[in-house]
Subunit: 131 residues, 2 copies
DNA sequence: AGATGTCAACGAAGCCCTTCGTAGATGCAG
DNA sequence: CTGCATCTACGAAGGGCTTCGTTGACATCT
């Protein structure tokens, strides 16, 4: 029904989505400013606008046109998008094994102790459920 | 330091790399047959050939031309490529936190108990090193 | 040698992503 | 009202990915 599968966002689209998740609903100008704040010499205003128009066609974002400056919101939550990206990658590069991806992730980059502890709690839950 | 950074493989390229990792060095025909075995109505022979030629230019694979049927090998190991893809995704979609990616991965898909145990051992190691 | 089959190479077409220039609409200050 | 700023819309250009048809080289079989 209404939950048609959204396409995998491109790198540029993902950058915009991250702004929308962080700031909440935003105009093109706000997104553009957020993007160029971290990355001067980044993308021009009309580039961001065009991307967001295309994202609207794809259903990645929704647009409120009641104001002159249209207000955009991410259609999918950050969690949902992360889940999609992860399962995609698991299938494409990890032979369908989420654990191997998880181990690769933890081995690649230093992780804060609190996060390790949190992960351990999740592990406890999963092993409890196992059968 | 001949380790120039390889570009991120596209979906099609990754499919070919997976064949090379699984089978070892292969000719175009062998890769094509492996791909169409799982996915009839997949890609044509010349398409695979073209892709592998481009991958050679990019440095993703190396080519041995001493035989009439050239033999290709993956330039980077599966592990190295997985690591690259994971750190990429962590930066692009998880705010740089590998643990959050790991948790998302484990929550998304059912994981076998042995793998959970293995992951737990890795966690022990990491927490041991912590300070 | 001639016919047949396999192979790499090349180029073109189609599509998508990104970028940006420009035009037209709208709001605002004077 | 006029001029300026802001915003959306549109279209085109450039590059990358994917697909495939065709060509020429090479091998094999008869």
């Amino acid at each position: 029904m209404s939950e048609t599968k959204l396409p995998r966002p491109t790198d540029g689209e993902l950058a915009i989505l991250r702004v929308l998740w962080a700031r909440g609903d935003s105009t093109v100008r706000e997104v553009h400013e957020a993007l160029t704040r971290n990355e001067p010499e980044g993308t021009g205003y009309t580039t961001v606008l065009k991307l967001m128009q295309i994202m609207t066609e794809k259903g990645l974002v929704e647009r409120d046109e009641t104001q002159r400056a249209h207000v955009y919101r991410a259609q999918a939550t950050e969690q949902r998008t992360q889940r999609q990206l992860v399962t995609d990658l698991v299938d494409r590069a990890f032979g369908g094994s989420p654990a191997r991806l998880a181990m690769q992730a933890l081995s690649s980059k230093k992780t804060r102790p609190e996060e390790l502890a949190e992960l351990r709690r999740l592990l406890d839950t999963l092993e409890g459920d196992e059968e």
